[in-house]
């Protein structure tokens, strides 16, 4: 893709599907962590349910915040995209600038994403109306979600890669 061409912005459905994949990955990771803790406690004849409720709540909330922050902010800052976004071939970048976002901007984006979900996900509706498909979290963090047309297809045989590249070029929708 030529870098002078305007970027294509990721829409609500594409971003939602990517988020669902990320949620599935996070659920598996959380399940593994809880399972490991439970196994470790069983060595001492205890289980998670034996712990006081406030301890469970504290560890649950802190753990979820830490895990989500590490996963989302880490992915956006290090590679520009989470695993789900990688599959959907979209990435997060600074509005008007090509490149990854900083940790601080990533934290703001994550926090704004949580806040945008509180009023029945109303903070995501602007994606449908904004020219650059930005939601509340993008406004707050000064980011946009763009299609990563430069993403290399590294899987499959050479012939399959060639076919996939041709198909990708043919299926590219009209640029906005």
């Amino acid at each position: 893709m030529n870098s002078s061409q305007p970027p294509r912005y990721g829409g609500l459905v594409t971003r939602f599907v990517a988020f669902v994949m990320d949620a599935a990955i996070l659920t598996v990771i959380a399940f593994l962590i809880v399972g490991s803790v439970s196994l470790a406690l069983s060595v001492f004849g205890k289980s998670i349910s034996d712990l006081p409720t406030w301890v469970n709540l504290l560890f649950g909330i802190v753990g979820a915040v830490l895990l989500d922050t590490a996963y989302f902010v880490g992915s956006w800052c290090l590679t520009g995209k989470t695993a789900g976004q990688h599959v959907m071939r979209i990435r997060v970048e600074r509005d008007g600038l090509r490149g990854r976002i900083s940790v601080w901007r990533g934290i703001i984006r994550l926090a704004a994403g949580v806040l945008a979900a509180i009023p029945l996900f109303a903070g995501y509706l602007p994606i449908l109306f904004d020219d650059r498909r930005r939601g509340f979290l993008d406004w707050m963090a000064g980011t946009v979600v763009v299609f990563d047309d430069r993403q290399k297809i590294v899987l499959g045989t050479p012939v399959q890669r060639e076919i996939a590249l041709e198909r990708q070029q043919l299926q590219s929708p009209t640029r906005r």
Partner: protein, 232 residues
């Protein structure tokens, strides 16, 4: 005094008749041999007396085989004659089930192993096989035989015979086949091919998903914007 030409209409007539008589005689002899089970008896007798062993030794040791093969292959009429003889012989042998009986006898006896071992032990067999394989006449003959309906019938009959079933059972039950399959399954080429295939499938699914979600993005946006415009 007028001279009588040596090669003229009478001579050609006689030669044609002689070939016709010869062909008919060959057919009668072949019928008799096949119907009386002479081939099976002969094969049995030759194998049990070790005659074939001795003959094969003698033939393989001498230079006559190579010369004879060369002369035969160089003859321009060879491939036509050989193909016709082969076709007719195959037809007769198949019709009487002789091929199956001879194959059974050979496979059940130890003679075949001995002959093969002895032949393969000699260097000369390699030279002969190489010369035969590299000769253009062999290629022409093989092409002609393979294209013939008799060959197709032969292959089909062999494929349908019980001998093939037994041979297949033996191969399937053998440890060598297990080793071969295991080696193929564990080879890097097969693994990389399977991985590439799986990755290719995952790529294709992801491509389809992306195409559909991209289209859904546009549809949802158009719908939302049309709703807003209507309210205004």
């Amino acid at each position: 005094m007028a001279r009588i030409p040596l090669v003229g209409p009478p001579t050609r007539f006689l030669a044609t008749r002689a070939i016709g008589v010869g062909t008919a005689t060959w057919g009668v002899v072949l019928d008799a041999v096949v119907s009386e089970g002479v081939i099976e008896q002969t094969v049995d007798r030759l194998l049990s007396n070790g005659v074939i062993d001795r003959v094969s030794d003698r033939v393989l040791a001498g230079p006559e085989l190579g010369r004879a093969i060369d002369r035969l292959l160089d003859d321009p009429r060879f491939d036509a004659i050989a193909a016709r003889v082969l076709e007719r012989t195959i037809d007769r042998l198949l019709a009487e089930g002789v091929v199956e009986r001879v194959a059974d006898r050979l496979l059940s006896g130890p003679e075949l192993d001995r002959i093969i071992d002895r032949a393969l032990d000699r260097d000369r067999i390699e030279v002969i096989v190489t010369r035969v394989l590299e000769h253009p006449a062999t290629e022409r003959l093989v092409a002609r035989v393979v294209d013939s309906p008799s060959f197709e019938r032969l292959v089909l009959d062999i494929a349908r015979s019980r001998t093939v079933d037994r041979l297949l059972d033996y191969v399937l039950a053998s440890e060598e086949l297990d080793r071969v399959v295991k080696q193929i399954a564990e080879s890097d080429e097969v693994r990389s091919a399977l991985t590439a295939q799986s990755m290719g499938l995952a790529d294709e699914v992801a491509d389809q998903l992306r195409a559909r979600t991209t289209a859904a993005d546009d549809v949802l946006e158009r719908f939302a914007r049309s709703v807003i415009r209507r309210r205004r």
